[in-house]
């Protein structure tokens, strides 16, 4: 689209970001729904906005699509400033949570709708509709109405409709939340595959960490309107940069404490973990897999802990341990009948090489 190139400087500056938000905020009266969010979606990647309910994911996505106008900051798509452009001038394709298929149009008419507005000639339109139906593997449904489709089928048609226009960026807002658990996992894989096939840049919103971890190239973790961390799923899980991210992604125990001049961490309940961290008030993030039962209680870094709860859930058991007043969670597979009971004392080893200690002042 020609409209996308009003200022050449912008294009150069944008590098290879298809979507770029610069210090974008949105205020609804007293509520600051999005607070100075800056992020870029790289060409061809699948970027996920992840965060708890009400943290501003939908608002952020809708500012990219143009349904919400930012209170401040700029939104650019393919290097062109789109901050004040209406949705129909933006090169985005959106899949709505409720799919929003037009009930008075057939599947084929739904998919052709965007192409008609873009003034594609009829023959190209028809070919494209056929191609999209093939992509989502539903060519036999072209003449059905949306009400005659299952939830999963509607979802795929909504995806086909959004992709038909070859948008610069595909936007999805919790697209799987209306599907049952099994279908959700299947659709997740399908979406990943379709997105890879057409190689479209994608911005995806979810509050489901598993969805984010399995699908994304990169994840933006949001909390109360601001960005907590941006990184690959591995970064986010293994090296959370804030206690919030650590707690939000996966299981973990957070210990507040202090790193001394020797680099060792001492929790407020006097649990000492030796390491080489930088001194100052800190939080230690201990994941269940960082704790092992030690066979030999004489081993160096081992501790004695009392079992508070034992939850068996098929295969493994999750133990809540009390260690000098600190509560830790670990996970272990026990042979049948040998599972510890609440009150038992066990010997554990904490793998201090893998745990992460976050300085308290890392975030303002």
């Amino acid at each position: 689209m020609l409209a996308l190139l009003p200022e050449c400087e912008n294009v150069r500056e944008a590098g290879d970001f298809v979507v770029e938000l610069k210090s974008v905020s949105k205020r609804y009266g007293e509520v600051l729904a999005v607070a100075k969010v800056s992020l870029g979606v790289r060409r061809g990647e699948l970027l996920c906005l992840l965060g708890p309910s009400g943290c501003g994911k939908t608002t952020t996505l809708r500012m990219v699509a143009g349904f919400v106008e930012p209170t401040s900051g700029t939104v650019s798509i393919n290097g062109a400033d789109m901050t004040h452009q209406p949705p129909y001038r933006r090169d985005t394709g959106m899949v709505f949570q409720s799919y929003a298929l037009f009930p008075h149009m057939t599947v084929a008419e739904n998919i052709a709708f965007g192409l008609e507005n873009l003034k594609w000639p009829r023959d190209k339109r028809e070919a494209r509709v056929e191609e999209m139906l093939k992509l989502v593997e539903l060519p036999h449904l072209a003449h059905r109405f949306p009400s005659q489709l299952s939830g999963g089928q509607q979802q795929r048609i909504a995806l086909a409709r959004a992709l038909a226009m070859r948008p610069a960026v595909l936007l999805l807002d919790e697209p799987f939340s209306n599907l049952d658990a099994l279908l959700r996992v299947r659709m997740r894989e399908e979406l990943r595959e379709v997105v890879r096939t057409v190689n479209v840049t994608t911005l995806f919103v979810t509050h489901d960490q598993e969805e984010a971890l399995t699908m994304s190239d990169r994840i933006v973790v949001m909390n109360a309107g601001h960005v907590e961390q941006v990184g690959t799923p591995g970064d986010i899980y293994e090296a959370p940069s804030t206690p919030f991210v650590a707690r939000f992604i996966g299981w973990c125990s957070l210990l507040k404490g202090m790193v001394g001049p020797d680099g060792a961490f001492t929790s407020s309940a006097e649990l000492r973990l030796t390491g080489n961290w930088s001194a100052g008030p800190s939080t230690a993030v201990i994941r269940p897999e960082h704790i092992k039962l030690s066979a030999d209680s004489a081993a160096g870094s081992s501790h004695q802990a009392r079992v508070l709860h034992a939850h068996y859930y098929g295969g493994a058991t999750r133990l809540l341990l009390d260690l000098n007043g600190e509560h830790l969670t670990m996970q272990e597979r026990f042979s049948f009948g040998s599972q510890p009971k609440p009150g038992d004392v066990v010997d554990i080893t904490i793998n201090t090489h893998e745990i992460r200690v976050i300085p308290a002042d890392e975030r303002p």
């Binding site: 949705p87 394709g93 959106m94 709505f96 709708f113 507005n117």
Partner: protein, 266 residues
């Protein structure tokens, strides 16, 4: 056992009450239709003899036929204009928050509160002052004022049930606001629009109170004509003309309902 009996009595009682209410509602129409086929010279029930002579007389009557034409013509025009204005008002009230929204809403509903006689006298004075009493405009405007509140209410109801996500989806698919209204909003609220049109038509077509003030020699509406006629003579031609009115009204309603049904099937 006891409650079964009570249930049964209540059911029968309910059916009887319903039957009574329906027949009370339909009775006047039935009486009129029945007496229009009489062969005697006065309107009476039960009719004596059976003939179509009063229909022949009605069709031959210049005054009644031109009044029927005036009524139909005015009612169709009123439906179209009321629909356009009513949709615009309802859309604005439903979608936007603006200064004076409450005022517009109140204004749209106010004719429902003002007694029709007051409205008639007021409009008569207004048009006398404007020197427009010898035109069709007083009648059109009077009926529009009566019809628009019904249209606004009906369209507002369909708009509030309408899923605005669909419009956003259309806009994301590059449809401009005008295209969105034409291709998404209007088709989806069509049933509501058509029932609004029926309301407008029936309101205009059957009105006497306001019309009585606003008609002049050249364009008397049918209800006013019947009213005047019955004041002076009591022959069954009035019944025949009234039956024609019922037929036109039913025809309009049925046609529109067919349209809705057809749209739903498509």
């Amino acid at each position: 056992m006891r409650s079964d009996l009570v249930d049964h009595v209540m059911t029968v009682f309910g059916a009887v009450v319903r039957g009574l209410v329906y027949s009370m509602l339909a009775l006047p129409a039935i009486l009129v239709v029945a007496s229009s086929f009489t062969s005697s010279d006065t309107m009476s029930f039960p009719p004596t003899g059976l003939s179509l002579r009063w229909y022949k007389k009605a069709f031959d009557s210049e005054v009644f036929m031109s009044a029927l034409w005036t009524s139909t013509y005015v009612a169709v025009l009123v439906s179209i204009i009321a629909l356009a204005i009513g949709f615009a008002a309802a859309f604005a009230i439903n979608r936007f928050s603006f200064r004076g929204k409450m005022f517009l809403q109140g204004l749209a509903f106010s004719p429902l509160i003002v007694p029709a006689v007051v409205l008639g006298i007021g409009l008569l004075q207004l048009f006398a002052w404007l020197d427009l009493t010898q035109t069709i405009y007083p009648l059109l405007l009077g009926h529009l004022v009566l019809a628009i509140p019904y249209v606004v209410r009906t369209v507002l109801a369909s708009l509030s049930l309408h899923d605005q996500m669909l419009e956003q989806a259309a806009m994301n698919l590059r449809a401009t606001p005008v295209q969105v209204i034409r291709r998404i909003t209007l088709p989806l609220i069509l049933p509501g629009l058509l029932s609004a049109a029926i309301f407008a038509f029936v309101t205009s077509f059957g009105n006497v109170t306001v019309s009585a003030f606003l008609t002049y020699g050249g364009n008397v509406t049918l209800p006013v004509q019947i009213f005047t006629y019955v004041n002076t003579s009591y022959d069954p031609v009035a019944a025949a003309v009234s039956t024609l009115m019922i037929i036109v009204t039913l025809a309009v309603i049925l046609t529109v309902e067919r349209l809705i049904g057809a749209e739903r099937l498509a």
